[in-house]
């Protein structure tokens, strides 16, 4: 047994000591905790940690196997994302106790605050006193036992799991109903109570999911095969896209969900060109050797930065929307090209980790697949706030893709139409976000860059928060970004174009005198090295390709990603379909595409008169349309519209 006095040792140092002692199998006594945050986060050894006093936010968060005992009270997010192990709290717990747990025992002898057990997947959360409102909000599994009163709206939008209430049920939440409990369940609870020496002889009422909101009433219809050019419906008013849209709605009686990118014409990078004439790029011999493209991303606060051979990354795309083989292929391609890959929502597979040399691990509001072990083997951590194709929404994964295996990784019931929560349980403002970012850093010893993915909406404000909250970089996603599934109207009409996003971001930073102080990775419908160079000129530090890499890897752009029957084996979880996808071959196809991007970036940078991509700047650009000129404040040069396209020059 060792002792740590938090009146003497700062939490950051204490957490390092706790992990060191844990590795040695040594139990730890903590005195004078005085409600400090992040105590014990990141501990993954089966030792006992006793806190003599109160703990602050995220006590025992992001841990596995350890046993925590807290004498008095705890702040928000007790046992956040715990895998196994236990926490016993002698006093009260604040909001979101047991948030996102995956299997631990959480015992609170006093009362617990609102939204306890939000997005929990497994394990037991027990409250000896009364619960505050919305206990079991959005829970996917596991059980909550409340010996006192339930609080209002208990079980709000739960998708799975059980809630047992000893006292009064104040009101049931949406999609929750009373259930029948079997003797064996109650026996199991009594055994649990005995184990933690809690005497309770009363009865229990049980609350379960009502099942009204887990599925769309009618499933998504297969679309006709309309080529994207026709689908984007540029010329005709009642074009095939509009007709199809009406036909499908007449069948399903609701908004549509589809995959792929937006098809509405919007101001984009193609409405911008280079100020100087660029022709015959092919005549530049070996431009890659002439231009410095090496880029470090995310080292601002002392973490190990991502080391990119060019200012390019892979955009976040989930294992779930995409098959395991596809994520593996993209990962391999990223390694071949010397850039970074990103897990997107839904966890990290071994195949993906093995394939990608540099991998960013993304955390979403549902905490699907999020866990301390994969955090520790990531090269970067990322908080997803939203994405360009559907800002303000969480991920969507239709039932067909929510297979047993996938559901297990995510910790959710199989076969539901998954609409991931759009909000994070513990991020309701810039102040909470600050504490959350610190939790992630504490848990991983401040070694990894922490980034934020922002879908373009109120970017001017959001980027300021990102800067103030100390992120290492921002992944900024415009409206032209694609998605595996999203409401069709949302994809077309919500969000702001990619070129507006970067301008708003830079303007926001300029307002607080922080231009250049946080790196921006721009994405959202970038198609080639030309788009990449224009983005860098506008002020991005790097760019990311999502859909382009999928197309490079065999996507036929049928826009049926949401259905789950992808004929190429890309956007599917059906093993029969996935068989068609050959990751080694597609990895090389994707890699060749990335090399073409590299060549274009180098050739254009050279042609613009520079030997380093960092020299690219706004003066290199002009706008071809009044809209693009208004958005970017670049000189308007309609006379250059007739100039041969750059793609032809290459």
């Amino acid at each position: 047994m060792v002792q740590i006095d938090l009146a003497e040792v700062p939490v950051r140092q204490a957490n390092e000591l706790i992990r060191e002692y844990g590795a040695q199998g040594e139990d730890i006594d903590i005195v004078n905790p005085d409600a400090r945050h992040h105590i014990g986060v990141g501990l993954t050894d089966p030792v006992t940690v006793r806190l003599h006093g109160s703990a602050g936010y995220f006590c025992a968060g992001l841990t596995d196997a350890a046993r925590f005992e807290v004498e008095s009270n705890v702040g928000w997010g007790l046992g956040d994302n715990m895998y196994t192990g236990s926490v016993v709290v002698g006093g009260n717990a604040s909001a979101i106790a047991g948030v996102a747990i995956r299997g631990a025992d959480i015992v609170i002898r006093g009362n617990m605050g609102s939204r306890a057990g939000q997005v929990m997947k497994a394990g037991t959360l027990l409250c000896g006193g009364n619960a505050n409102f919305m206990a079991g909000y959005l829970m996917y599994g596991g059980r909550i036992v409340i010996l006192g009163d339930s609080g209002e709206r208990v079980g709000e939008d739960m998708a799975g799991g059980e809630i047992y209430v000893g006292g009064k049920i104040q009101s049931l939440g949406s999609d929750a109903k009373m259930g029948d409990s079997e003797g064996a369940e109650i026996d199991d609870i009594r055994e649990f109570l005995d184990r933690y020496e809690i005497s309770y002889k009363g009865d229990f009422q049980k609350i379960v999911n009502e099942g009204k909101k887990l599925h769309y009433k009618t499933s998504e219809q297969q679309m006709r095969s309309i080529p994207f050019v026709a689908f984007s419906g540029k010329s005709d008013y009642w074009n095939p896209k509009i007709q199809e849209d009406i036909h499908i709605k007449s069948q399903i009686g609701r908004y549509r969900v589809r995959g792929y990118g937006g098809a509405r014409e919007l101001p984009h990078l193609s409405d911008i060109t280079f100020a100087r004439e660029i022709a015959n790029l092919n005549e530049i011999s070996d431009p890659v050797s002439k231009v410095e493209m090496h880029t470090l991303i995310g080292g601002k606060h002392g973490a190990q930065p991502l080391d990119l051979t060019m200012p390019v990354m892979i955009a976040p795309m989930s294992y779930g929307a995409l098959s395991r083989s596809t994520k593996q292929a993209v990962g391999m391609a990223s390694s071949l090209a010397g850039i970074a890959e990103n897990t997107g929502e839904g966890g990290m597979s071994d195949a993906q980790r093995g394939a990608a040399k540099q991998l960013i691990f993304q955390m979403l509001g549902g905490r699907l697949g999020w866990n301390i072990h994969d955090m520790k083997r990531a090269n970067g951590l990322e908080i997803y706030i939203s994405q360009g194709a559907k800002p303000g929404f969480g991920g969507q994964l239709m039932a067909k893709k929510v297979t047993k295996e996938l559901a297990e990784i995510r910790g959710i019931p199989a076969g539901i139409d998954l609409r991931s929560p759009s909000r994070h349980p513990d991020i309701l403002g810039g102040d909470d976000l600050l504490i959350k970012v610190e939790e992630m850093r504490e848990a991983t010893g401040y070694k990894l860059p922490v980034s934020v993915k922002l879908g373009a909406g109120r970017i001017r404000d959001d980027i300021k928060i990102a800067f103030k909250d100390g992120f290492d970089f921002v992944e900024l996603d415009g409206m032209q970004g694609s998605t595996g599934a999203g409401g069709a109207e949302v994809m077309e009409y919500v969000g702001i174009p990619t070129i507006s996003a970067i301008m708003d971001a830079l303007d926001g930073l300029a307002e607080i005198d922080a231009l250049g102080d946080i790196q921006i990775i721009l994405m959202g419908g970038l198609r080639d090295g030309v788009d990449a160079v224009k983005s860098l000129c506008l002020g991005a530090d790097a760019v990311a390709f999502g859909n382009a890499t999928i197309v490079a890897g065999g996507c036929i752009s049928c826009m049926q990603c949401h259905v789950g029957q992808c004929v190429t084996g890309i956007a599917t979880q059906d093993p029969e379909h996935e068989k068609r996808y050959r990751p080694e071959i597609e990895a090389h196809n994707i890699h060749r595409f990335l090399e073409s991007v590299r060549w274009q970036i180098a050739a254009l940078t050279h042609a613009l008169g520079y030997d380093n991509v960092k020299s690219l700047n706004r003066d290199d650009l002009v706008a071809l349309t009044p809209e693009a000129a208004a958005i970017t404040r670049l000189p308007y040069r309609p006379d250059l519209r007739e100039r041969p396209s750059l793609v032809e020059a290459v």
């Binding site: 005085d34 945050h37 006093g91 605050g113 403002g429 102040d431 607080i512």
Partner: protein, 306 residues
Amino acid sequence: MCGIAGIMFKNGRTDHETGVALIDMLDGCQHRGPDSTGFALYGEEHRNELKLRFLVGEGAEANESEALIKTALEAHDAEIVEDKRVGNTYQAVVTFDGDLRSFAYAMEHAAPDAKVISIGQSLDIVKDVGSAHDVDDRFNVHKFKGSHGLGHVRLATESDVRPESAHPFWATGFSDVAIVHNGQITNYWKMRRRLEQRDFEFRTDNDSELVAVYLADKMAHGAPLREALKSSIEDLDGTFSFLASTKDEIGYAKDNLAAKPMVMYENDDLIVIASEEVSLNRLFPGQALNTKEPPPGSYDTWSKST
């Protein structure tokens, strides 16, 4: 984007170390807002006098503002009992017995570069950029003795880091009313327009100022602080936890979603409320406190005994 703190010593005496307590509490939650810090302090009541504090800045501009303020005070029959410059502020104690709201607005317009921070018989607000200790260094907050007070640390995410956008906010036009707020009022413009139609003036676009004016308006119509807090939960949309204080009371209100944290501790001698328990523990180091978390959509008030 902030941390809040409030303390009241119940016995009504004004010799408590209120300044030190608030500095400690705010230092405990400075991580919630490192950009600016402020204090609303309630000391001994000056029965027939008003304490005024203006933000005037430094140098020649400040001298000019001070001169203009003095002229305006004279024009409104407010006689200066004592005055001084502290940091970037000008402070005056005056005798005045006219209509406070019009006087306050006149003071606000007295000098183009000056801003009224607070007016009250016992209230004094100090706020500036920097940490609790930075602000203490400039304004000697630790020397302040009183019966109760509020504190605030701010993370400036939507506007510049400027002293005038720091909290607490004085309810412009209403003596001795101050608030500190953590959260966001989403029907800000609607509520502000309503109040503006009734000739209220707003000094900033900060939604926290709205909370202060809203409460003061209710109280001016005769509602006790308790009633004003109750109606605020119905009338204000958004996510908020705020603390409000008057000459004799301190109170809180918390939105219906409980989206912003708040925790409190009460014993026979005092009531302390803060965003996080870590602030409360600063006053009782090493002790496990029996704290309480107010439920969503709740409010409460405490009065000092007089």
